[in-house]
């Protein structure tokens, strides 16, 4: 989609809702090197949402949407859960179909977009919770990796079924007492990043969303690698503060605590040599663009 497609025709401009007008005026569709720092100075691709106050998932959503390299040609596939409360408000096409089949939907979608638009890079990004990714949908998650489907899978890991009220999930830590685990969870947190690596992901990483620049970097890496090399997986800790008994202002602390040495969410990544080479190349290109921009600015100042 080119940016012209969201343009308003003069006759109807006055009756369009203000959030759409803002989208036309200041959204960052088509901007090279967009990122989390655009938040606050441009129209975000997320409108309001009905997540709980202070939910780290909502800030993760903002970072991801701000970091997508190519939102004007990106289609999201979601699943059932808290994310379904947000997707109706985002300014990229998105599909919700069933609970757990998100990677199956994305497989058909990505191949079709590739066939229909051979000359345009259409990115497909799956964004689903840990229940959808690891429990009910694990078969389809892994099979899409086996088949080397070229899209990114993002898992919002809140270590439980949040939307249904805090039941045990496969990504929950061992021993945690939750609904449906009345004596504490009996087995270890599933090692999904390692599973992703073994299943064929070119890039698999796990982190919290405490640092926006890190989120931006992994999302951009994941999308670019998926586009050119193969499947990628990003697991983000977005704690459900409601269900782990925290206050709305404690989400950030929870993430920071969990990523300390010895914590469950110490950042870790696996990347193939080929994918690393791509990331290195993109980094160099970005640096050169920045340098050139600075140079241009200097020249303009002199002139």
């Amino acid at each position: 989609m080119s940016k012209e497609k969201i343009a308003l025709c003069d006759e109807f401009a006055s009756i369009m809702p203000p959030e759409y007008q803002e989208l036309v005026e200041s959204a960052t569709y088509g901007k090279q090197d967009r990122g989390w720092k655009d938040i606050g100075s441009s129209k975000e691709l997320i409108e309001q949402h009905s997540l709980c106050a202070g939910c780290p998932e909502s800030i993760a959503f903002r970072y991801i949407l701000a970091s997508l390299p190519n939102p004007e040609d990106t289609v999201f596939v979601g699943s059932t859960g808290c994310t379904s409360l947000v997707f109706p408000h985002v300014a990229v096409h998105n599909i919700h179909s069933l609970f757990g089949n998100q990677n199956a939907i994305a497989s058909g979608l990505k191949r079709t977009l590739k066939a229909r638009f051979p000359d345009v890079e259409k990115d497909v990004v799956v964004l689903a919770g840990d229940g959808a990714t690891v429990d009910i949908g694990l078969d389809m998650t892994m099979q899409s990796w086996f088949r080397q489907e070229k899209f990114t899978t993002i898992c919002f890991d809140n270590e439980l079924y949040a939307n249904t009220g805090g039941q045990e999930s496969g990504l929950m830590q061992k021993g945690f007492v939750a609904k449906m685990a009345p004596k504490g969870k009996a087995f270890d947190k599933v090692r999904l990043v390692e599973i992703a690596k073994e299943a064929g992901c070119a890039y698999a990483t796990m982190l919290t969303v405490s640092k926006p620049n890190r989120v931006e970097e992994v999302i951009q890496n994941a999308v670019h690698i998926a586009r050119e090399i193969g499947p990628t997986f990003v697991q983000l800790y977005t704690p459900c503060i409601l269900e782990i008994g925290k206050q709305s202002m404690e989400g950030l602390d929870e993430m920071k605590d969990s990523e300390k040495i010895g914590g469950r969410f110490v950042a870790r990544s696996y990347i193939t040599d080929e994918a690393q080479a791509l990331v290195d190349r993109l980094k160099v290109e970005k640096k050169e663009r920045k340098k050139a921009a600075k140079q241009r600015a200097k020249e303009l100042a002199v002139a």
Binding site: Q48, V90, N101, G108, K110
Partner: protein, 419 residues
């Protein structure tokens, strides 16, 4: 692109709205000319071949300009699904792969359809049931995917034999459900099914059903149009809902996601959407009636005894009628081609003068008889049967015996004056 010179024709027959696709008349990568369906069926020469049902499915898909097909092995559709793979290897389809289960396959089909492709898949029996959650999702998402259901048993202990019980589960999914009697029906229904399902005022999925083995694994003479003709492609921008390709402005779908709301607006939204899907199925009637020459076929419906059936039960009934005629018993026939939409008015009219209505079926439930009973006045005329299940064949003699038993029983009662 090569423009193919139009051959002079007497008068073009137009059964359904003609395609205005930009590729009409152009030649595709495998040398076929994109052709309007009216001209494929009614404006070109049809030549007989002697093929199995599975081969006929392949030949239909060869001429259907399908974008994506996703396959999974399950008897008795495996051969057809693999043959479509051969078409893909020859360049007739853009995408084809094996999924990991029927649930996943139907999701992969949905993804392809959301992305704007014409999509075809096949399944059977337990596969249909494993995939079931997807079918109302397809309909609710207004995806005109076609699934060919080659019916087989769904019971335990394991059975791979023909049985039409699975069709009963499909009836309220919001899909069109058509039931082929023969391989010829199957060929026609597959191509015509795409066109009806894709009409902007319909735009719901379609299940083209046939009886496994009886149709898929037997050879029959089928009239086919030239393989140099193919349907014009699906146009995703005629869909009543947005194609998910980011080629149109992304809109905020709703201010309050209805999933979490327990209020009247939420209920009303869901209710009206369900009604709209069912209305779309109803709106397919006008297209289907013209393209299939009616939702039912009839033969001698002025007779007092009628058989009403669908699928290969109709073929068995034809032979039963011949046998009974030799014995001086006159029986008429109603063949139902579309189960959804259900030909309510047509069946009422066709059976208006019947005193005895028999509904032979290949399933234990007798669901077609229930459907018929539900719409006929004076439905004591309807006999649920004969029906067989679990893969049993239904010899024509069984139908004859059942009809004679019921009529004979009645006669005896009347003679006895007991009523």
């Amino acid at each position: 692109m090569t423009q193919v010179a139009e051959t002079p024709q007497k008068e073009k027959i137009t059964k359904i709205i003609r395609s205005t696709h930009e590729k009409l008349g152009q030649v595709n990568g495998v040398g076929q000319t994109y052709t309007d369906i009216n001209d494929i069926f009614y404006g070109s020469e049809q030549k007989p071949v002697f093929f199995t049902g599975s081969e006929v499915i392949k030949e239909a898909i060869r001429r259907a300009s399908v974008g994506t097909s996703v396959a999974y092995p399950i008897t008795p559709q495996s051969e057809a699904a693999a043959l479509i793979g051969e078409l893909y290897a020859e360049g007739y389809l853009d995408e084809y792969f094996r999924g990991e289960s029927e649930f996943a396959v139907m999701g992969q089909c949905a993804g392809a359809s959301f992305g704007g492709h014409r999509v075809f898949t096949t399944t059977a029996g337990p596969g249909t049931l494993r995939a079931m959650e997807n079918f109302p999702m397809w309909a609710g998402s207004r995806l005109p995917i076609q699934v060919c259901v080659t019916c087989r048993g769904v019971n335990s202990p394991l059975s791979i034999q023909p049985d039409t019980l699975e069709m009963h589960y499909l009836l309220e999914t919001g899909m069109l459900v058509w039931h082929a009697e023969t391989a010829q029906d199957l060929f026609d229904f597959i191509l015509k099914g795409f066109i009806v399902a894709e009409q902007p005022d319909v735009h719901v999925p379609i299940a083209t059903c046939c009886d496994g083995f009886f149709v898929t694994h037997t050879k029959d003479t089928v009239e086919l149009p030239s393989d140099k003709l193919t349907l014009t492609p699906y146009d995703p921008y005629k869909s009543p809902v947005t194609c998910m390709d980011m080629e149109s402005a992304p809109i905020r779908m709703m201010r309050d996601p209805f999933v979490m709301k327990s209020n009247y607006i939420s209920y009303a939204t869901h209710a009206s959407w369900q009604q709209e899907v069912h209305a779309a199925v109803e709106r397919s009637r006008k297209h289907t009636i013209r393209l299939l020459d009616g939702l039912i076929d009839t033969m001698n419906i002025d007779r007092k005894i009628l058989i009403v059936g669908s699928g290969t039960a109709v073929s068995q009934s034809r032979e039963a009628i011949r046998l009974m005629e030799q014995q001086g018993i006159e029986v008429g026939l109603v063949k139902i081609k579309t189960i959804r939409p259900f030909p309510t008015e047509e069946i009422r009219e066709a059976t208006a003068n019947a005193e005895h209505i028999f509904v032979p079926e290949f399933n234990v439930a007798g669901w077609l008889a229930r459907e018929i009973k539900a719409v006929l006045p004076d439905n004591g005329r309807v006999y649920t049967g004969p029906h067989v299940a679990g893969g049993m064949t239904m010899p024509s003699e069984v139908i004859v015996e059942e009809i004679k038993r019921v009529i004979g029983h009645r006669t005896a009662v009347v003679i006895g004056g007991l009523k």
